[in-house]
Homo-oligomer: 293 residues x 2
Amino acid sequence: MEIQDIIKEKIEIINSGLFEYMKHQDLLQGSIFDAMSYSLFAGGKRLRPIIMLLVCDMLGGNEKEALPFACALEMIHTYSLIHDDLPAMDNDDLRRGKPTNHKVFGEALAILAGDSLLNMAFEITSSAETKAPKKTLRAIKELSRASGALGMIGGQVIDIESENKEISHDVLLKLHSLKTGAIIRAAGIIGAVLSGASEEEIKAVDGFCLNLGLAFQIQDDILDVSGNEETLGKPIGSDIENHKTTFVTLFGLEKAKEEVGLYTEKAVSSLSIFKDKAKNLISLAYYLINRSF
Amino acid sequence: MEIQDIIKEKIEIINSGLFEYMKHQDLLQGSIFDAMSYSLFAGGKRLRPIIMLLVCDMLGGNEKEALPFACALEMIHTYSLIHDDLPAMDNDDLRRGKPTNHKVFGEALAILAGDSLLNMAFEITSSAETKAPKKTLRAIKELSRASGALGMIGGQVIDIESENKEISHDVLLKLHSLKTGAIIRAAGIIGAVLSGASEEEIKAVDGFCLNLGLAFQIQDDILDVSGNEETLGKPIGSDIENHKTTFVTLFGLEKAKEEVGLYTEKAVSSLSIFKDKAKNLISLAYYLINRSF
């Protein structure tokens, strides 16, 4: 099976899961579920849950038990985008080619829709049936750490405080290894933990995700200057307009492309202990290098 | 021991716990911890964790194992206040006599400080050592449900959508049983679950919290018209100014006071199965009737 088809299959599994969770609506609070669903089904790449499910496949984990966490990862990613887009933050009007959440539902509901998605991530993961409650608890711990002040939110804080400043390579690496990287790493770690992986295997998966996350982010910076507005669903050049330091502004386009390749190779070699079983994750890594969206 | 002294003792335990959690700071993201601590240590009543610890005491639970959840309840309460105060929501400048979080740290950091406190609540509860992981998971489930779209946030949505409208008694009850009530109920239920209570005992504690929560909210409405600005730490009459329907605007001051008494009696009688062991929770209920803050 080609990686594109595997990705398509996983996206269907993830979307069905998300749809099931969002079905439980309450008439009095209907509007909050509308706001949550709007962003949740706005056509995301589902990268984080895909990584998680591929790690589960590789390690012989149970996909059904992993699904609540896969959905939770996407809920947390979506909440972070809704809050990032707010006028007080990046003040973005478009996301994935559609008006941002607060543009459609107003700021108050957008803040609460983000809050609710974050809550729901923990609700569905703590409510899922489990035969291994200790593993489930560890997975929730990894998820909450990665999304908190020492993880994704910490990266966002560094991002906000770096506005209109030239930052160093070290700070830029820290920013992205937290803002994008923390949840991507959590996706891999959780997939491994739920599959009963050894600490050595968890570490190898983490090494893959850490490097994949950086390759992914640098590719994002490259697409921001050389991508296609329609394919990306957002305006080109927004980083420059917002005076943001990126891997492209620091190193130039050519060197940035080289870095994507280098981090991808590092990611792939982290998986060597899994030999042939890692082939889908490796295909995913190479697939992402060549993405245009 | 008088209830005032018991409350003081519990507040000290809770504050030490919160302080321990907030010590872990990171230089690069220091400002987010400052923003979180500012609101967390702004002098709250700690009502929710106090209820939880008193339920634990009543049922012979282990206070040390309960402490992460007690702190988590206060983190979630604090996050909800920070987000409620935002310009896009209630647009409040003062909270507990001090400038609100966004007035001090700016809107972006206030949103992220709220997000971080919510995350941290799940991080500390899922990271705590536990001999009973199934109970811990159930407690996390109760916590996340209570704070989500079908709990506290749902109440906030009804509140926002009821602005400048006269709402019915039924809708007002639903609003408050969610917005304030859901977390107060979760406090009791979690205390009971962690102490290994039977389903019958959990139900009795829930009945107490449900009614206590309503008594507490009606008393809040009463203090908003008849309280002392300095003791309350916020301006008097803000509900009327914001055209909010309250128990006082619906029923008048005298009838509202009667209702506080009635709900308190209902709360107290819910605890009858615990006989003498419920005395501190009962004292707390009567203490809250007479509060002026």
